[in-house]
């Protein structure tokens, strides 16, 4: 830093402590959390693919895991994380490109839609994959 004192009192970066929590802030934080979670989720999906390529004995092991209640819960929340990061990522692209839905009300509505889309969409994909 330079030795000169600050000439003005411009706002610093947003601090969590002084910001009133709101939907767009939550969506932003969730975007990063789901991003990191999906990083490790990709390793899990890759493990499934490797087991498939390895042979029936290995695949049987991973299938036991996947069909247990724990495996189903992990797979469902993986789908929720993918869909949230997907739809919220599209919103980021709309912000960066055409610059739409920047206003607080639109951004907030978009955020709530993204959460709803993620949970319902994952359930819909689940049902569609089972029945189609």
């Amino acid at each position: 830093m330079s030795g000169t004192p600050r000439a003005d009192t411009r706002p610093l970066s947003p601090h969590l402590q002084v910001w009133r929590p709101h939907a767009t802030m939550a969506a932003s934080i969730t975007h990063r959390i789901t991003g990191v979670a999906l990083y490790f989720g990709t390793f899990l999906i890759a493990a499934w693919l490797v087991a498939l390529a390895t042979g029936s004995d290995t695949y049987g092991l991973i299938e036991t895991l996947l069909f247990s209640w724990f495996g189903k819960v992990v797979l469902y929340f993986w789908a929720v994380a993918v869909l949230f990061h997907f739809v919220n990522g599209i919103r980021h692209l709309l912000w960066d490109g055409p610059g739409v839905a920047f206003g607080p009300k639109a951004a907030s509505a978009f955020s709530i839609f993204n959460y709803t889309f993620a949970f319902l969409g994952a359930a819909a994909i689940w049902a569609a994959a089972a029945w189609l």
Binding site: S2, T4, Y39, L52, A53, G89, L93, W126, A129, L132
Partner: protein
């Protein structure tokens, strides 16, 4: 620096220079995101269906040319995208330079290795089915 007392804050910041790679990182993150908009819906649906269908269904899925190609493309775009994303997370939260460098290198190695493993698995299933 010895002449700091004569520099305005802006001038001092400019003197430090930029990392000169922020823009290209930003663009790459978004271009890989654009590719994933097309690949991810197909992938999530197909992979859940393959898991629910059991081993024979799953192996049959990967042994067809279009799913095999799309799988490799999805893996490429997704792993590239997540490598860029994790890089930013590490840069944001890890201040200690040695740890940060080690994690950044680990991130690159892990992602590239993961892609190689996924690509080989897809090829094995595809070639294995054709033989």
């Amino acid at each position: 620096m010895s002449n700091n007392q004569f520099l305005t804050p802006t001038k001092a910041a400019r003197g430090l220079g930029s990392a000169k790679s922020g823009t290209v990182h930003h663009i790459r993150q978004r271009v890989s995101a654009l590719a994933l908009i097309f690949l991810v819906p197909w992938f999530v649906f197909s992979v859940i269906r393959a898991i629910q269908g059991g081993e024979a269904t799953a192996a049959d899925w990967v042994s067809q040319p279009v799913p095999a190609i799309l799988l490799i493309l999805t893996a490429g775009a997704a792993i590239y995208h997540m490598r860029l994303g994790m890089q930013v997370v590490i840069e944001d939260y890890i201040a200690k330079s040695g740890t940060r460098a080690a994690l950044l290198i680990l991130n690159s190695f892990a992602c590239i290795a993961l892609f190689a493993i996924v690509a080989l698995s897809v090829l094995k299933l595809w070639i294995g089915a054709a033989a």
